[in-house]
């Protein structure tokens, strides 16, 4: 088999996914042997026009990381869809919205007001707010349009595969690349690849009991906890039970921090937050509505907690303002 034509793109993202690709270390040389790159903004200099000039389906594989936040992201998503055979939503943001999608709990107006007018570090006496089109003496300037909400990649274009993670585990990345390079048989379209099929607890080795009772929610910042024992058993919210396995336990075991859910929901559920509420609510050790509300109130930002990486892919979206 000849060399693969590959593109890597970052939309609304932090760049961590790109770094994760480089984190496959010496194997990156093998990648270079196997692949010709046609777009990789973080690593190489290409112009959008170069891509636009390619014939349709010229690229064998596109790893698209980042969520779709603005019209530029959307344009590239559509362009790369057209130019690629396999479009992969790569990383949490492309998969389920990721951190950028937390913005979906507020409005575009709210974001702009905070970012350009009211934050403590803002110095903007003229109250300038970005506009898509601005007339200047030299002519009209345009910048990409900021959408009302953040989208996961598959909410904008058709996606072939998903690789979850914030960022994806480098070993899993190599497995995915190797599979495509070697021409191994690929799973059905729409599959989540480079991840497990159960929830994270499957591989987590922290000790846990079958008698969990929640009398109050503790916060990581104000609690000491036993590094050997299940976080939930200690009253700390860990999203492990409703997060797909595959991350290599970077947080829960190597960093002694509760899972925050970046690998997205496991295969058979529809909504990470709703399921987490169902599980936690079942365990709260109270019967009096006031007491229950008090305990629940100890998590001030429930939505932010449960949908930290999947806010664009829940059953519900925020209502239009």
């Amino acid at each position: 088999m000849g060399k693969l034509n590959v593109g890597v793109y970052w939309a609304a993202s932090c760049g961590g996914c790109d770094v994760a690709i480089l984190d496959i270390h010496e194997k990156v040389l093998k990648v270079k042997e196997a692949c010709d790159f046609f777009l990789w903004p973080i690593a190489m200099d290409f112009k959008y026009a170069d891509v636009e000039a390619l014939p349709d389906k010229h690229l064998d594989l596109v790893l698209f990381n980042g969520a779709v936040r603005n019209s530029e992201n959307k344009h590239l998503a559509e362009l790369l869809r057209k130019k690629s055979k396999l479009l992969v939503a790569f990383g949490s943001c492309a998969h389920t919205g990721g951190i950028p999608a937390l913005a979906n709990f507020t409005t575009k107006q709210g974001i702009f007001e905070r970012a350009y007018l009211t934050s403590d570090s803002t110095d903007n006496p003229q109250k300038v707010i970005p506009k898509t089109k601005v007339k200047v003496p030299e002519g009209e300037l345009t910048i990409p349009e900021f959408f009302e909400r953040v989208f996961a990649l598959d909410q904008v274009v058709d996606v072939d595969y998903y690789v979850p993670g914030c960022p994806p585990n480098p070993e899993r990345i190599w497995e995915v690349l190797a599979a495509v390079v070697t021409g191994a048989p690929l799973p059905p379209k729409g599959s989540v690849i480079g991840a497990g099929t159960k929830a994270l607890c499957d591989t987590c080795e922290r000790k846990r009991t079958g008698d969990k009772k929640i009398t109050g929610f503790k916060r990581v910042a104000t609690t000491d906890w036993d590094p050997e024992v299940c976080f939930l058993d200690q009253g700390l919210v860990c999203l492990g039970p409703c997060t797909r396995d595959g991350c290599g336990l970077q947080c829960v075991q190597h960093s002694n921090m509760p899972c925050r859910g970046c690998y997205g929901l496991p295969p058979d559920i529809s909504d990470q937050g709703a399921k987490m509420i169902a599980a936690l609510g079942s365990l709260i050790d109270a019967k009096d509505p006031e007491e229950i509300a008090r305990i629940a109130g100890e998590l001030p930002d429930q939505a932010g907690y449960y949908y930290r990486f999947s806010a664009a892919a829940g059953l519900l979206e925020r209502r239009k303002a």
Partner: protein
Amino acid sequence: MTKPSGHRIGVYVCHCGVNISSVVDVTEVAAQAAKEGDVVLAKDYKFMCSAPGQDLIRADIAEHKLDRVVVAACSPRMHDDTFRGACAKAGLNPYFSHMVNIREQDSWVTKDKALATQKAVALVRAAVRRVRRHEPLYSKEVDVQPGVLVIGGGIAGIQAALTIADGGQHVWLVEKEPTIGGHMARFDKTFPTLDCSACILTPKMNAVGSHPNITLLTSSEVKDVSGYVGNFRAVIETRARYVDHDVCNGCGLCMEKCPKKVPSEFDEGLIPRKAIYVPFPQAVPNKPVIDRDACIYFQNGKCKACEKICGPQAIRWDDQPKTTEIQVGSVVVATGFEMYRGPALAELGYGKYPEVYHALEFERLNNASGPTEGKIAMRDGRTPQSVAIVHCVGSRDKKYKPYCSRVCCMYSLKFAHLIQEKTGAEVWEFYIDVRSPGKAYEEFYDRIREEGAHLIRGKVGQVTDQALTDDERGKLIVVAEDTLAQQRLRVPVDMVILSPGLASAPKSLAVAQLLKCSTDKDGFLIEKHPKLAPIETATDGVFLAGCCQGPKDIPDTVAQAQGAASLALQFVGKGKVLIEGRTAWADDQLCSGCRICNSLCPYGAITFDEAKKISVVNEVLCKGCGTCAAACPSGAAQARHFKDDQIFTEIEGVLAP
């Protein structure tokens, strides 16, 4: 309309005479249903539940190769089984049918005919979408062990044990005290017939002791129950008695020689018993035990008077607790009650004035084998000239026991009769309402009135020795309002008897937990249905007898005990039990072993497989509530017939435009 999935669905809309069709346009409902994907036929019919209606379904299944059936008619609570049966007869898995409730929840509750029809269409649409997702379910048959465990040896347990044993099953009767007999053994007379309690109870106690089908375990408690319906394994611990009952001949010399006296529990501490004792002369087994806490030998290593006198050498100082493990198919709980002994007694001078007694003390005082050999006397031996009996002590009181204990009125009236008969004293009964709903009870109440007891309608507020007049000096003064005469009364009396209600026995709670039965807020075990299943519990194979379920009198207790016994016999006798297929299960391909579900199951049906590190549902124990499925954060636990996708499609259906 949804995408067809290749199913062949038949929809039937019932007129229910005119019950449905006079409000809902049934032909329109059928016509709309026919437009849904996969619906190959949609019919309306006068009476779907009739034999021809069911035949219609069966014929269509055969002729049109239907693989799913939706019946829009009355409540599934009424006829779900009917239409499942119809499907089963046609060779279709019964769970491939689904009922839509367009009578109780539509035609009968909706005024506007157009809106009622619209609602019916939506509900049928939801059912069509749901039924596509149905999966075949199968009932399971489980073997039932022979043998029955009866917990508690009062009249309820005695009666249940005898009935079961006579019915041919082996019974293990477990009693925590050294003798069976319970409360009834402590009464002298029983209301309303006034027959002698011992005369009617003792023969039954002896029958238990000698029945070949009964293994009697006294001084014993059930420590653990495991297993599942029809297959219970119980661990019973028998305390050390320090007397070998196989050797002891029950001569009683040891009790005479024992120098140590402690208050007798059986006699409410009114007289002492010895450290080696039988609780009362007619006890079964009628062989003594040593009370380790009281025994001088166990205190300081000396004495051994009993050992020295014992002819057959039955004393065993090194006796140890024994555990017995048994397998049974069914359990009868007969753990009884405890008399209420809370602060309501002290409020009325109990503990402060020696002549204030509670009902059980009076029962012993009046008992021919009691401390005074049946003579009703004050502590100084005088015969009381006047006695007040106070109803509702701690009962019908939101601070203590809010419920009516059912027996206190009647036993209080019995006291009035006995006191008047034996002493001729003036008797004052203070009541809130006299409750006498039982056979010949009202007549007994009449009789007591005629005998001249003063019945005062008013709850006693105070009992005091603070005399205000010369008449009151040296007496106890009972203060109450005669609410009928509208006068506050101060009645000077020699003796006051408080009639406390019946409270749940603390042991019942422990037993309930072992058996996964629930208790109500007052600590009584909850029956399966208050009207139609008052003996069964939510745990299959576990039945209730007597006051552990709630206060009741002796006839009701005996009746319930016999009922529990026959249910236990029926259950064990069949040898097999069918378990419904509508249970939960945990998909081992999805379960990550987070253990969130483990403690949620009310039936203990979920266990953790330590080897595979996943949770497992025991489908024999599961009752299909679905709590685990709701809570499972990874979607591994699922409730059959109420799976996520089945409910989701139902939601889509009722809301589809």
